[in-house]
Symmetry: C2
Subunit: 326 residues, 2 copies
């Protein structure tokens, strides 16, 4: 008897700079990977063509196209319900992009598309600390943005339009920094890598405190960590401000959702050693008193380079549940 | 054939001042009502005894105790999961009060207890504008506090401990007004009736702007409305500040939950005519752009005096779903 069940899926993570494509098995083992430069494709048709070609090559080199069950895509501002990327402020393609339908038509496999933050939550619920949790929040602290999703009773809470969890676009200061979304004072302008570097630049400009950062040339998040490691007070204060700001926002989010855990992910965490203690303090200080003793603040065990394709692979397995395109 | 099915429930709303008891039929008609002064019972045992007696009298006067199916109770800081009122900052009874179990043991009927805000959401989902909505937020603007609950996929999202939706205890200013919960700057210190009156008192003290409120003696919310009606600029500014503050917080809440509607209730709304326009403006201005066109900001059609007992009656019908005490 030949076993004809399809045991692999394709997980894709689209970001404004790079698109990662992975071939993943039932247990979440990443068998092979490939990348595209998203910025090479100002036109989305060209992008879908290239994506289809890379999927074919990756499949043929690893057991053949006929062993692939389905495709899951994680992308910013993507809508689970419609399968479209919708008005993503940081992406090269403007307006409404029906990426799931376009790729399905091109390769003839079922394709599900999800918001990167919700897809991260799916991945965490199957392969991370949220395994077995009914209600949890996941927050991704990225280079430009802060994404998030939460589970309600064991399912992703997607919201009416599939856009729930946009903590990065919650307003923390109506007169604050301008955001790509068109408003002012969005959280992600303060606690993404870009946002934290802006805080550092403002502190350097607005004070005359001595700091190793003053001789650092163009500021990077690596420098900000290194200077803090070396005891630089201004650098530590930058991390302190970011941690406090983030802690309060996470506490307000948790006060509304009452999760078992808030799980943090994202590239910022690779550099954020000096942010963690002030964040944790302001998180627990700001939480609604009745949930303070039950909630956990965790860093995801899944590494950042695999997280999104792994989440997208979970979406691919659940394609019947989440996609209009079956 | 005698029809022996029980067609009535008891809906109870416990507040820090008054407890309302209602006999409600299948269609949500309130057949009879009774009240207790909560403050007359500093000891909760005496309160449960009195409650049981009033339930008996109300039932016997309206078809008999044997026609009552079950009891639902709405109370502040109540926990759906455990059936307890837990550390309610404004209530006469401190600590953990197992009210559902106590009343069940006293009267021999199934009793479910829920957080007043979640119970309001239940009522709204059966008898209000949320009928037919999968995902919505309800916010109750009260005398001392601001309560809230939300639905996810047609069910109340209670959270891990049954305390989800505590928007009133989200922090809007870490250095802000002290709250009964022990922290500073909770939203309800600014947009409850008490909070708005405090804003008015602060504006009167900290400025010398002329205002009709200066000759008003002890300030009330009715005066604040009347003075705004008469064109008093300071009174209108108080409403303006409250509306703007509330609008941003509601937008942040909606940006996380992505509901079909945010539905407002509560006694404050009876006086809040001058708050509505600035609230609506700051709500839509502050919303995440991708959900701005789909979301509705509504005032509940259920009147405030019936809302909580009606919600509690829905809880009573769902007693098998929501109570540990079957």
């Amino acid at each position: 008897m030949e076993n004809e069940i399809k045991t692999k899926v394709i997980g894709i993570n689209v970001t404004s700079s790079v698109t990662l494509i992975a071939l993943v098995d039932i247990r979440g083992n990443i068998l092979a990977k490939d990348t595209l430069k998203t910025t090479d494709y100002p036109n989305v048709n060209g992008f879908v063509e290239a994506l289809a070609e890379h999927i074919m090559l990756l499949s043929e080199a690893n057991g053949g196209y006929q062993t692939i069950r389905s495709v899951g895509i994680s992308a910013p501002s993507a809508n689970f319900v419609t399968g479209c990327i919708e008005n993503a402020p940081n992406m090269p393609w403007k307006g409404i992009i029906p990426l799931a339908a376009m790729l399905r038509d091109s390769i003839g496999l079922a394709v599900a598309l999800g918001n990167d933050a919700h897809v991260s939550a799916l991945g965490e619920s199957v392969y991370g600390y949220a395994h077995g949790m009914n209600t949890f929040i996941i927050v991704t602290l990225g280079r430009k943005g802060v994404g998030s999703g939460f589970f309600s009773y064991g399912q992703p809470h997607l919201g009416t339009d599939g856009f729930a969890g946009e903590i990065g676009h919650c307003c923390i200061d109506v007169n604050g920094r301008p955001c790509n979304c068109g408003r002012k004072g969005c959280l992600e302008r303060y606690v993404s890598i870009q946002g934290i570097l802006q805080t550092a630049r403002e502190m350097l400009e607005q004070t005359d405190h001595p700091s190793l950062l003053r001789s650092a040339g163009e500021l990077t998040i690596e420098q900000l960590k290194t200077c803090a490691d070396q005891g630089d007070e201004l650098a530590r204060e930058v991390w302190n401000v970011a941690g406090t700001t983030l802690g309060i926002s996470l506490a307000n989010y948790a006060t509304v959702v009452n999760p078992e855990a808030v799980i943090l992910t994202g590239v910022l965490l690779e550099h954020a050693k000096w942010m963690m203690a002030p964040m944790e303090k302001s998180f627990y200080d700001s939480l609604f008193h009745n949930i303070r003793s039950t909630i956990r603040l965790l860093v995801s065990p899944i590494n950042n380079s695999d997280r999104d394709v792994l989440g997208a692979s979970v979406l691919a397995w659940k394609v019947k549940e989440y996609s209009l395109f079956k």
